[in-house]
Symmetry: C2
Subunit: 336 residues, 2 copies
DNA sequence: CGAACCCTTGACAACGTTGTCACACATCTG
DNA sequence: CAGATGTGTGACAACGTTGTCAAGGGTTCG
């Protein structure tokens, strides 16, 4: 900026006035300054600008996510981006893989860069990094997951109700021996989904069988083998509720590997690509990640804009989509 | 910081020393300061810190992407993130949807926040926003696409060779009437893929038929209908090369819709989820987006670290993966 | 016992920007 | 024609931090 001022033969302040189109600058000078700016390729330093007006927003928000490369989360991010753009804001994001330390690091990095707010998928967070931030008044919105001991605005799918619906759907098609494959129970959505599964079973008097439940934190590509092995080493269930998108993919692959895809029924939680092209099509309880992202960001920007209302919870339910896999009936129905 | 200093009864500088563990502070004071810091929940302002040491890095890079919610790109982002984390850097990202203005806006936003470098998927960029940045010496790496008039480091898949291989594969299975469905020719990868397709055909003396080529910029979910309509209104090709991931998904859906999936051969460019579970499995020329992201980021951080070597181009080829759809032979082979 | 040293601490300037104010000069008003 | 008003411009402080330097106090050494 100094260089520009010197080149145009004016003071900093005049340059500043031109850059910000404040007016009150004669045309002659304004032109000279504009010329100098483009000759030197000068860009105002946003950091310094925001530093000076220290009450001003930084025009950036942070998104702490479990894994961007999971299409569910990347769609959430896309939704957030859209709203952020409309508010002239930039999105910084980072994946945690559910690692507590990484989560803390990311939040620290965002906070120390003075983001205007945070959207967090809190996978490991009884953490008090977040607690401190909330107390300081940093706007924070949770998305997808719900931490047990922290309170802030929240937007997520109705994991419980969706799972009840999925399980009831299988029961309605004659199944009583339904396996549950899902994420690690540390993850709040996974707990809720399992609870929904159990509730639906219990409601019709089916006992919960621990052998029918597999919950684990695996890499996306590991589920295929795990489920195939399960099916090879256990008495086979007549139906499966695969309670997460990667699990659903792995499950579908495993069923095809063993040529059981027309024998064992499957309902998944969350949509997957080509879910309607596989044979049979995969019956799922969909989520709407783009929408989740938009809503979360909308809530965040309301807070950033000064909304001091009560903490809100948006819990979104979606009806099951039938495509075939969930409507397979058990092969034999032995009298019991 | 002032508050902390006051509370601990010391000067700013001492607080600064404690925060940065500079040493040379007595234990008594250090403890008092540490106490004040945690009581007040103080976080140093990274912006001010970096402002003061104006030669220092900001610890942030920008990623200008076409669409984060495309799994291909979100995997690239994930790869970038990994490397960035290892370099203590944050990633800001934004989707352009190939819109030039949006691209310029994003680059501006990143540059004025003084990112240490940029990774760009240059979809609309003859733009001189970027040219100016390159001239100023901002480290920039292009990924996936290659702008015609700008020079910087580049990491991408071998779109041309991959497409030659895909087309040759179909030819080798007896096809001479092969349709090409792909992205808009504005996009450099799309041009290269089409060129590869044409080269392979021409090499064996097959004429290029414009009616067999559809290139367009569509929303991901539009391809299904477009391709179905094409197949309903045109004499049917015996094989299809679907030259992008969303196109491949739409094509597979359309083929299933019309029950042509066992009749018409298909080879896709880029992997898609469940590509091995659909019947038949989808033969593809894979890309390795995670790896592309890692390499691009690695190159960028080398530059940021001061590497002034010649501009590099990494062009990565991968062998075709056969899964069934690409090995379908034409129904009848009329003498011609 | 005084000089030379080390250690801890603080005052001040600086980073790149904008807000505040005052100054110079031109123009209007009574 | 003096005073009031308006217009363009620049000097300076401030944002939150760190680098530089000097001062204060204690220790060591001759």
């Amino acid at each position: 900026m100094r260089d520009v001022a010197e080149r145009a033969g004016v003071s900093f302040k005049t340059v500043s006035r031109v850059v910000n189109a404040e007016g009150g600058v004669s045309e002659v000078l304004a032109d000279r300054v504009a010329g100098a700016i483009s000759e030197l390729g000068y860009r105002p330093d946003e950091r310094a600008r925001r530093l000076r007006q220290s009450d001003a927003k930084t025009g950036a928000i942070g998104f702490v996510i479990v894994d961007v490369s999971n299409p569910f989360f990347s769609s959430v991010l896309r939704g957030i981006e859209e709203v952020a753009t409309a508010h002239d804001s930039i999105v910084m994001s980072g994946s945690t893989d559910g690692d507590k330390d990484r989560e803390r690091q990311l939040i620290d990095a965002f906070v120390s860069r003075r983001v205007d707010g945070l959207i967090v998928v809190p996978e490991g967070s009884t953490d008090n990094t977040l607690r401190v931030e909330i107390e300081r008044g940093t706007p924070i919105v949770f998305v997808d997951l719900e931490p047990s001991e922290l309170t802030a605005d929240l937007v997520r799918s109705d994991h419980h109700l969706g799972s009840v619906a999925a399980t009831e759907h299988l029961i309605a098609h004659g199944h009583r021996d339904i396996a549950f494959f899902g994420d690690h129970p540390d993850i709040s959505s996974s707990r809720l989904r399992r609870a929904g599964y159990e509730q639906a079973l219990t409601a019709v008097g089916i006992d919960i069988d621990e052998n029918r439940i597999v919950q684990d934190r695996l890499r996306p590509d590991e589920w295929r083998d795990v489920i195939r092995t399960y099916l090879e080493t256990h008495e086979r269930p007549t139906a499966i509720f695969s309670a997460q998108n990667f699990v659903t993919v792995g499950c579908t692959q495993a069923l095809h590997d063993l040529d059981l895809h027309t024998t064992i029924a499957q309902v998944g939680f969350d949509e997957i690509e080509l879910g309607d092209v596989v044979t049979p099509g995969i019956t799922t309880v969909p989520q709407h990640p783009l929408d989740l992202g938009r809503r979360a960001a909308q809530t965040l920007f309301n807070r950033i804009g000064g909304d001091r209302g009560d903490v809100t919870k948006e819990i979104i339910a979606s009806p099951i989509i039938q495509r075939g896999s969930g409507e397979i009936r058990p092969a034999a129905t032995p009298a019991d």
